[in-house]
Each structure stands twice: as structure tokens, then as C-alpha cells.
């Protein structure tokens, strides 16, 4: 539905040019909850502003329903935005805010009134229609901003970190609420966030961005289980990284005993394993057995983080679920043998550190 082709954005001129977006290409499907995830400065907000039309792209195309909208002004694009600070019009009531777009489109008054009432019902704010926006709480303003952006029935709803100004409890509620709204309206959402938990719990697909480039586009589960590179593995969840190499169909980890047969081209690799997949002691099935020393135990309630040191000084963290009985799995200073199960290992291309 929305086809983004080689989209590029640079700011500044001459020597001071900064490229915020490097030839980004991907496609968003109808009805998808699509998230742009990345640290600040990764280009996710720039990409959103290009889709909204607040900035012209330096190159590339934005094809919506077969039409290139890259040069179209924002007020002619069937795309609406929920802003990070909500940007509600302070001199208008809630109802006037929600009806703004319809008024600008010159729709008849009774139609505007009906749509506004329906939208306010959708976000459960019908009773506040005649309040000024400044008299609302943060969560209520958020809902008004949503209703305002949904009222003109856009093809795509853009959300620019809309939950970042809310406190933790409200944020969780709004996550559920947003997902409900998206499913109820069947609308395509493009959601920008730096919060991986938000991204994982709400999205159909996530684009992880860094340095103005897309690092990986995948479902939340694929991103977590099969990260494409070290950045994605490090940004989504926690990971252990070890230097290893592949030779003649075998994975060689210097600190481990026997090598493991793999199908991977020869050469140096970065071995990634999630902390919850590290076994203390032997484990069933194929795996790498590695001697380690327990450095520190950190208690987290549901689980314990075991900080381990391997023979060459490399660090590794194992996360062990706390059992109902039996106490700690090991003690600080213990020399133990850990197992990295073969199916938990991910081989990532080795990058310059």
C-alpha cells in the first residue's frame, strides 16, 4: 500500500551536509501496525516527517496506492499525525479540535458534528466535548489527539512517540488502547518509538533503524530470535556476544572444548546467545560446553543474573529462573561448566568494534 523507494534526506549544504536518511526502501501493507524503532538520531522521526509531508525528501519516492506523494504538501496527503506533544489547539474545545480537519475540508456542519461525536465515543471522551484542551490530563489529551487524527479517515495514521510523555501505568493502558483502536478501525498505523518493549508488544512488523539506515525489518519474534546483525541483537533484548570462527563446517569457540558442526561460510563470526538460553551445567542435545567461573550473582525476583567469566577473560551473563525450592543455582567463585545449546546460537557477521 505504501511503497517507500530509495528515500533519502539530507540537511544543510556543502561541507556541513548531514544525511539523516540513506536510501531507505520498504513496503507497508494495508492494515498493518508498523513500527519504526531505534535510538534517538537514527532517522525514524525524519522518515515519519517525510511520510507526513512536513519535509521534502532529498531523493526517492513515496508511493501511496500507486501515486507518488513525495512532493505533495501535507494538507493534501491522506495521512494524519499524532504528535509527541499532541499539538492540540489550545484556543479550541475538544470537539472543535476533533472536527478541525473536517472543517478545513469544508464538510457540512451536521456531518462534522456526527463524526466528532462518533470519534469521541471511540476514545471514550464524549463527556468532555466542550472542555478546552488545556483543562485535560495528559492521557485525555492523548485521546483527543488520536480522535482528531482519526476523524478525517486517513489512509495511514502516523504516531510520533505518542506515549513518551505519559507515566508508566498510563503508558501500558494506552498501548492496549492503541492496539484496540487499530484493530477496530482496520487502519494502517506507522508508529515511531525508541522503546523496544512498546514496539514488541504492539507491532505486526518492526523496522529497526540506526544511523539513517534500516537494520532489519521483521516481526517482533523474528527480531528477537533471528537478529540480522549485532546492532539489532544488542538493541532488542539482552545478548551475549563472543568472538568465534567457522572453518571446514565447524564452529570453533576458543574457550570451548569440542567444536560444533555448522553450515556457515568459513571466517570469523560473532556468536550471539541470549542470557536466558545459557545452561549452567550440562544440557540435553548438541551444544558448546564451556568452562567458566561465577563472578557475581544478581537477584532480580523472578530470575537471577549469573555473571560469568570465561578462561580468556571474556564475560557472559546467564539468566536463571528462580526455582520455588533449592536456593541459588551456584555460588560466587564456583568453577562450573556451562552449555550453549546449538539451537540458541546465532552467528552474526563480524563487525569492526
Amino acid at each position: 500500500m505504501l511503497d517507500i523507494r530509495d528515500l533519502t534526506k539530507s540537511f544543510g549544504k556543502g561541507d556541513s551536509t548531514v544525511t539523516a536518511l540513506h536510501e531507505v526502501s520498504f513496503t507497508i501493507a494495508e492494515g498493518e501496525f508498523f513500527t519504526l524503532l531505534g535510538p534517538s538520531g537514527c532517522g525514524k522521526t525524519t522518515l515519519l516527517r517525510l511520510i507526513a509531508g512536513f519535509e521534502p525528501p532529498s531523493g526517492g519516492a513515496l508511493v501511496l496506492d500507486g501515486q507518488d506523494i513525495a512532493q505533495m504538501p501535507p494538507n493534501r496527503r491522506p495521512v494524519n499525525t499524532v504528535f509527541q506533544n499532541y499539538a492540540l489547539f489550545p484556543h479550541m474545545t475538544v470537539a472543535q479540535n476533533v472536527g478541525f480537519a473536517l472543517g478545513a475540508q469544508g464538510r457540512p456542519k451536521d456531518e462534522i458534528a456526527r463524526t466528532v461525536a462518533r470519534m469521541l465515543d471511540l476514545v471514550q471522551l464524549g463527556h468532555l466535548a466542550h472542555r478546552k484542551s488545556g483543562e485535560l490530563s495528559g492521557g485525555q489529551q492523548q485521546r483527543v489527539a488520536l480522535a482528531r487524527a482519526l476523524a478525517p479517515k486517513p489512509r495511514i495514521l502516523l504516531l510520533d512517540e505518542p506515549l513518551s510523555a505519559l507515566d508508566m501505568k498510563l503508558r501500558k493502558e494506552m498501548q492496549v488502547e492503541l492496539k484496540r483502536l487499530q484493530q477496530e478501525t482496520g487502519l494502517t498505523f506507522i508508529f515511531v518509538t525508541h522503546d523496544q518493549e512498546e514496539a514488541l508488544t504492539m507491532s505486526d512488523r518492526i523496522a529497526v533503524m540506526s544511523g539513517g539506515r534500516i537494520q532489519q525489518i521483521a516481526t517482533p519474534r523474528e527480531l528477537y530470535d533471528q537478529p540480522a546483525n549485532r546492532f539489532v541483537a544488542g538493541f532488542i533484548g539482552e545478548s551475549n556476544f563472543l568472538d568465534a570462527s567457522c572453518a571446514h563446517g565447524k564452529l570453533v569457540l576458543p574457550q570451548a572444548g569440542a567444536p560444533l558442526p555448522v553450515t556457515h561460510p568459513d571466517g570469523p563470526v560473532t556468536l550471539m546467545v541470549r542470557p536466558e538460553h545459557v545452561f549452567l551445567g550440562p544440557a540435553p542435545g548438541a551444544g558448546l560446553s564451556v568452562p567458566a567461573r561465577v563472578e557475581r550473582l544478581v537477584y532480580f525476583g523472578t530470575d537471577t543474573h549469573v555473571h560469568l567469566m570465561l578462561a580468556d577473560g571474556a564475560g557472559l551473563v546467564a539468566r536463571v529462573q528462580n526455582a520455588l525450592r533449592g536456593g541459588a543455582p551456584c555460588a560466587e567463585g564456583d568453577a562450573i561448566s556451562i552449555t550453549l545449546p546449538a539451537d540458541a546460537l546465532r552467528l552474526l557477521p563480524k563487525e569492526a568494534a
Partner: protein, 267 residues
């Protein structure tokens, strides 16, 4: 506990100095207003409170003519200045930097820097010629001149408000299908209105109080309130002049206070 930070209020003599300044500023005004209420004819003999001098003034044709000229002049000049200043402020804050923006700022604020008497003489030289050629001796010379030097006073509050306004509001309007004009009419202008009104009031007061330019540019027989007062002073000081001055003071104070109320931050 000793406060380390510098606080001007704690400097020795600061309070005394401040109070002295206020006394010097305000005592003459108080005396003026008190004198205007004097029932007696002689200005230095107190004979009780009365509004008779106000009544006298309000029946004085010369005063009434000057007052109406002043009000028409101030209202028209303030209107022209406010519209111009608002457009200028929009241009200098809402469009991307353009060539000559600094120059425009300088030109707009020129009346704040050029000595008024110099401006008055310069205008006099030109307008004397124009008057000869056209034969027109009406109020428009004063209206144009007042409009020009009122612009910076209207410009300042409007520009300050525009700079302080959240730009995402206008972005949001454009996102919600509003054209530039619709955005201006429904979002920018309503949010700007208090500053525009404040600018209008400041310009109005500045025009109302102006002596120098009016005195130089007025046609024979034409008088604004300040030039009328100046003319009366050349004869002798009467309680009626005190009453007229007090009225002018009252109008100015009310308008400036109104302007301040409109621009102060709501907390």
C-alpha cells in the same frame, strides 16, 4: 545561613535609591492630579475638591477639537501600524530566512533609534513641498507619519508572541488538511490576537502622546491634544490644563494597563 548568591536587593542603599526614583517620578503626577481637582481659580491656593475644571474643559471647543483629532489620528495610525507590523512579524518569523531580513528588522525599528526631532525636521522639509504641490492640508500627513513611528511598538509584542508560539500547532493544522490561509485564520491569528491587540494599544498610546512630530507637521489651525496643551502653556498655566493633562494621563494609563494584561503570561 548566609546567602552566597548576588542579590541586588541586598546592596546597601539600593532600596533608598529605588524609593527616591519612584518619588521623583510620581510625586509631580500626584500634584498635577490633585491640582486638577482644586475648586479655586488660582493654581497655588487650595480651595477644596471639585470637578469644575473638568466641566470647563469639556465645554471648551478648542480642547474638544484637539481631543477628537488626537483620537482619530491615534486610532487610524495604530490600525495601520498594527496591520503592517503583524504582516512584518509573520514574514520575519514564519518564513525561512530570506535575503535582507536583518535590514528589514533594522528599518522597522528605525524610529526607536533615530532622534525624533531629526525625523520631524526631515519630514517637515518633504511635506512642506508636498503641501505646496497638492494643496492638501488635512490629517493624512500626520496619520502617515504617526503610522510609521508606531510600527515598532506594535511589532514588538506581535513578534515576541509569534516566536514563543509552538510551531507544531501550525504543522498539525497543515497535517489536518488546512490550507495556509485556513491555518492562519483558525490557528495562528486567534492565538496571536491578544498580542495584536496589545500592539495596537501601545501604538495608540505612543501616537496619542506624541508632541514633536505632530508639532512640526500639523497644518495651521490643526491641533492634537499634546500640541493644544503646548499652545495653552505659552499663555498661562490654568487648572483647566491640569484637568486636561489628567484626562490624557488617565487614558494612557488605562490603555497601557490593558495592553499589559493582554500580554502577560497566564500562570
Amino acid at each position: 545561613m548566609a546567602r552566597r548568591s548576588f542579590d541586588i536587593r541586598r546592596l546597601p542603599g539600593a532600596a533608598t535609591l529605588a524609593i527616591t526614583c519612584f518619588v521623583i517620578l510620581y510625586i509631580p503626577l500626584v500634584i498635577l492630579v490633585v491640582n486638577s481637582l482644586n475648586a479655586g481659580k488660582a493654581i497655588n491656593v487650595w480651595e477644596g475638591i471639585s470637578l469644575r475644571w473638568y466641566a470647563t474643559a469639556l465645554q471648551n471647543e478648542g480642547f474638544l477639537n484637539a481631543a477628537s483629532t488626537s483620537l482619530i489620528l491615534a486610532a487610524t495610525a495604530a490600525l495601520v501600524a498594527t496591520v503592517t507590523a503583524t504582516m512584518a512579524a509573520l514574514a520575519t518569523t514564519r518564513s525561512k530566512g530570506f535575503r535582507g531580513e536583518g535590514t528589514i528588522n533594522l528599518v522597522l525599528n528605525q524610529p526607536l533609534m533615530v532622534p525624533e526631532i531629526v525625523l520631524a525636521i526631515a519630514l517637515l522639509i518633504i511635506l512642506a513641498q508636498v503641501k505646496q504641490v497638492t494643496g492638501y492640508t488635512g490629517l493624512w500627513y500626520l496619520i502617515i507619519a504617526h503610522s510609521a513611528f508606531c510600527i515598532p511598538f506594535a511589532y514588538m509584542p506581535v513578534r515576541a508572541r509569534l516566536q514563543g508560539m509552538d510551531l507544531t500547532l501550525e504543522t498539525a493544522a497543515s497535517d489536518l488538511y488546512a490550507s495556509r490561509f485556513y491555518t492562519f485564520r483558525k490557528v495562528t491569528l486567534p492565538l496571536l490576537a491578544p498580542a495584536v491587540l496589545a500592539g495596537f494599544m501601545l501604538a495608540f498610546v505612543v501616537s496619542l502622546d506624541d508632541v514633536v512630530i505632530s508639532e512640526f507637521l500639523k497644518s495651521p489651525g490643526q491641533d492634537t491634544l499634546p500640541t493644544y496643551l503646548l499652545g495653552q502653556l505659552r499663555r498661562n498655566l490654568t487648572s483647566e490644563i491640569y484637568a486636561i493633562s489628567s484626562l490624557l494621563l488617565l487614558i494612557s494609563v488605562l490603555i497601557v494597563a490593558g495592553s499589559w494584561l493582554l500580554t502577560r503570561k497566564k500562570t
